[in-house]
Amino acid sequence: MLHGELELSLMDLETSKAVTPKPAVTPAPAFPRAESNLTESAAASARRTRIKSEEAGVALNLGELWQYRELLYFLTLRDIKVRYKQTLMGVAWVIIQPLLTVLIFTLVFNRFVRLDTGSLPYPLFALSGLLLWLFFANAVTNSTNSLLSNANLITKVYFPRLFIPAASVAAGLVDLGVAFLLLIALCIYYGVALTLNLLLVPLFILLMALLALGVGLLSAALTVKYRDLRHALPFIIQLWMFASPVIYPASVVPEKWKWLLLINPVAGIIEGFRASLTGRSFDWLHLSVSAAITVTLLIFSVYVFRRFEDTFADVI
C-alpha cells in the first residue's frame, strides 16, 4: 500500500525494476576462469590509438581517411537518397533545375539582349556554364551546412569529419553526372564536333570538384563557430556567379577587369570546359593559374578544417 502511494525507489532507477525480476547474470564461478588466451589473441590483432591533447597540434592523418574510405561512400549514398525521398519526380529534378535555368537565361540573353557567344549557340553555351556552376554552388552550400545538420553525429561518434562536407560534394558530382545527359543531348542536337579537346572534360570536372571541396571545407569549418557565414553565403555565391563567365562569355569583360577573371578559378575552369566542347584552343596560362589556386586553396582548407575539427564537438 505504501509503495503505491510513494513510488519508492532508491536511485531513481527506471530500469532496475524491469531488469531485476530475472537474475540477469548467471552466477559467476567460484574460481575465475583463465581468460588470458582470448585477451592475448585480441592483443595480437590490436591497433594502437594515441589521443593527444588539443595543444599537440594538427596532423593531417591522410592514412586514416583511406581507412574510413567506405564511410564516404555511405554518407554520399545517404545524401543522395535522402534528397529525393518523398519527391514526386525524384532524380528528374537534377535535369529540370538546369533546364529551367537555361530557359530563363536564354530568354533574357538570347532574345532580349543579344550576347555574342562565339561558335556555341547560347542555350548550349549557358548550359555548359550553368551545369558546372550549379554543381559548384550547390556543393559549396550543402557542405557549408553539412556539419551543422550532422551535429548529432559529430557529438556522438568519431570518424574523420572531413567526410561530411566531402560527401556533400560527392553527392553533387553524382547529380552532375545525371545532368550531363542533358548536355550530351544538346550537343547532339546542335551537332557539336567531336575533338580531342573532349578528353579533357573529366579534368575540368575534377578541378571544379576540388575547388568546391576547398571552398566547402573552409566555410563548413568556419560555420561551426561563426554562424554568420550561413546567412552570408547565398550572397557570396550569387556575387561569385556574376563575377564568373557563367551566363556571359569572358570576351565581354572589359580589359581592365580581366585580371579578376584570372584570379577566379571558376572562370578558368568554365572557360576551359567550354573550350573542350568547341574544340577551341585552351588558355593554358589561365588554366594553370586556376589549377594552382584550386590546389593551394584545398590544401589550406584541409589544414584549417583539421585544426578546427578537434573543437567541433565542443562548440557545435
Binding site: 524491469a18 525480476p21 559467476a28 588466451n37 590483432s45 554562424r227
Partner: protein
C-alpha cells in the same frame, strides 16, 4: 600485458559564457577584439572556465569490464567522449589498444527517411564497420532485432521500441576490442534489455574490454568487476563495485548508519509526529554501519509525538543497492497497536534476525503512519539509514566454504539432510 586503456593526466576545460560562448558571430568577435584589452584590465580573466575533468589517471586492463558512476556533471560523459575521440582532452594523453567502438547514444547515424536495411549499413559504417563485415553480419543483425518484416520500411515509421531494437542490434554486432557505452541500456522493454545485458555478458566473455557509464547501480554492480567513481571531474575512488557503489550512495545520499534531526522544525513529520533519529544498532546497543550477516541487528527509530490521540505505526522499507525492494515491515506489536499515544518521545526498534539477508549495501526508508480513521502518512524519510551487510569467511554462514559471489537478496542458513540409501562401498575405493 599492456593495458587496453591508459589515461594519463587527462583534463578537459570548457569555456562557458564570457569571451568564448559556444559559438559567436563575426560582430561579436570584432567587438571582442576591440574590448578585450579593456575587459582584461577590468576583470583579469575575460572568461569563465569549467574543468569537466581534471587530472584523471586510469589504467584499464584488457578484458576488464569497468563501470563509471557519478552524479550528473561529474565528468562521466566527458571522459567517454574523450576516450571515444569525439572531443580532445585539453591536456594529457590517452593510449588505446585495439579497435574502439563507442555507443554514446542509441541509433547513431540513423536517418529517419532511410529504410531499416539502409540504416544498418549507414550506422554500421559510421560506427566503424567495414562494408563486407556488415554484409556478412546483416542477417544476424536483422534476426537479433526481430524486425525481419519491416527491414524495407523507413525507420521513421518504426515505433520507438523498434527503432531502439534495430539500433542496438547494429551496435551489438560491432565486435570492437574496446567498447564504450553511455546509458544505452536505459531503453527498450524488459525482454529486450535482458537480451542486451546477455549480449554484453557475451562480449565480456570474449575477453573484450568494456567501459560502461550508467546511473543504473543494478547493472553496474551486476556486470562490472571494477567501478570508478567520478566527483567534480576527479576520480574519487575506484575498486570493487560494492564498495564504490556504497561510497557513492553514502556520499550522494549523505546517509550513514545514524541520522539525527536536532531541530524539530526540520525533522521529517507533521503536526502529529516528528522523526528525530534513525540508527542501525547491534544487540549491545552500539551504532553499527557494518553488520555481520550472522548477527541480528536492529533499526531504531526515535520520534516525538506532538499531538495525542493517534495510533501510530512505524514502517521501514529495505532496498538493496540495485534498487530492489527487499521487504517492508510494519510495527504490529500489541503493546501500542490501535492505541492512542500520549505526547512523548518514543523509541521503537525492529530486529532483523541474522542469516536472513544477503550481503551488500542496504538502505532503509522510514515512515510513520496511522490507520484510524483513515490511513495517513505522518512522516516519511527516504534513505534514512544506509548500512552494509558483510558475509563471513569463517564457514558458519549460509555460504559455507564457498568464497565466490552468491546471487539472491536473501541468504538464509537452512537445514540440509542427507541419508545414505545403499552402500556401494566397492565403487568408491
Amino acid at each position: 600485458m599492456k593495458p587496453a586503456i591508459k589515461i594519463e593526466n587527462v583534463s578537459k576545460r570548457y569555456r562557458i559564457g564570457g569571451l568564448h560562448p559556444g559559438y559567436m558571430t563575426f560582430r561579436e568577435m570584432i567587438g571582442g577584439v576591440v574590448t578585450a584589452p579593456f575587459r582584461k584590465l577590468k576583470s583579469g580573466n575575460g572568461h569563465q572556465t569549467l574543468w569537466a575533468l581534471s587530472d584523471v589517471n586510469l589504467e584499464i586492463g584488457q578484458g576488464e569490464l569497468v563501470g563509471i558512476i557519478g552524479r550528473n556533471g561529474a565528468g562521466k560523459s566527458t571522459l567517454l567522449k574523450i576516450l571515444s575521440r569525439v572531443t580532445k582532452p585539453t591536456t594529457g594523453e590517452v593510449e588505446l589498444l585495439g579497435r574502439i567502438g563507442s555507443l554514446l547514444e542509441v541509433g547513431t547515424g540513423f536517418h529517419p527517411d532511410l529504410t531499416g536495411r539502409e540504416n544498418i549499413f549507414l550506422s554500421g559504417a559510421i560506427l566503424g564497420m567495414r562494408r563486407a563485415e556488415i554484409e556478412r553480419k546483416f542477417d544476424e543483425i536483422v534476426a537479433f532485432s526481430e524486425l525481419e518484416k519491416f527491414i524495407e520500411t523507413s525507420v521513421k515509421w518504426y515505433s520507438s521500441g523498434m527503432y531502439v531494437r534495430l539500433a542496438f542490434s547494429v551496435a551489438a554486432h560491432l565486435e570492437p576490442e574496446i567498447l564504450m557505452m553511455d546509458e544505452v541500456l536505459a531503453v527498450g522493454d524488459a525482454a529486450f534489455q535482458q537480451k542486451c545485458l546477455d549480449k554484453m555478458h557475451d562480449i565480456r566473455g570474449q575477453g573484450r574490454t568494456i567501459l560502461f557509464v550508467s546511473h543504473d547501480m543494478a547493472a553496474i554492480t551486476r556486470l562490472c568487476k571494477r567501478v570508478v567513481l567520478l566527483e567534480n571531474g576527479r576520480i574519487a575512488c575506484a575498486g570493487g563495485p560494492r564498495e564504490v557503489v556504497q561510497h557513492y550512495l553514502s556520499s550522494s545520499l549523505k546517509t550513514g548508519a545514524v541520522r539525527e534531526w536536532t531541530k524539530q522544525t526540520e525533522a521529517p513529520g507533521d503536526e502529529v509526529v516528528r522523526l528525530r533519529r534513525v540508527r542501525v544498532r547491534a544487540e549491545d546497543g552500539k551504532t553499527i554501519p557494518v553488520v555481520d550477516i550472522r548477527k541480528p541487528f536492529g533499526i531504531e527509530l526515535t520520534y516525538e509525538v506532538l499531538d495525542e490521540g493517534h495510533a501510530l505505526v512505524p514502517v521501514i522499507e529495505f532496498y538493496n543497492e540495485e534498487g530492489t525492494e527487499l521487504f517492508s515491515t510494519h510495527d504490529t506489536n500489541a503493546q501500542w497497536r490501535r492505541l492512542a499515544r500520549p505526547r512523548a518521545t518514543y523509541t521503537s526498534t525492529v530486529w532483523i534476525p541474522g542469516n536472513l539477508l544477503a550481503e551488500g549495501s542496504l538502505v532503509g526508508h522510514v515512515s510513520i503512519m496511522s490507520h484510524f480513521p483513515a490511513t495517513v502518512l505522518h512522516a516519511y524519510e527516504r534513505n534514512a539509514v544506509a548500512f552494509q551487510i558483510v558475509d563471513s569467511p569463517a564457514g558458519d554462514s549460509a555460504r559455507g566454504d564457498y568464497i565466490g559471489p552468491m546471487p539472491g537478496v536473501i541468504r538464509p542458513l537452512l537445514n540440509w539432510s542427507t541419508e545414505i540409501n545403499e552402500t556401494t562401498g566397492a565403487n568408491f575405493k
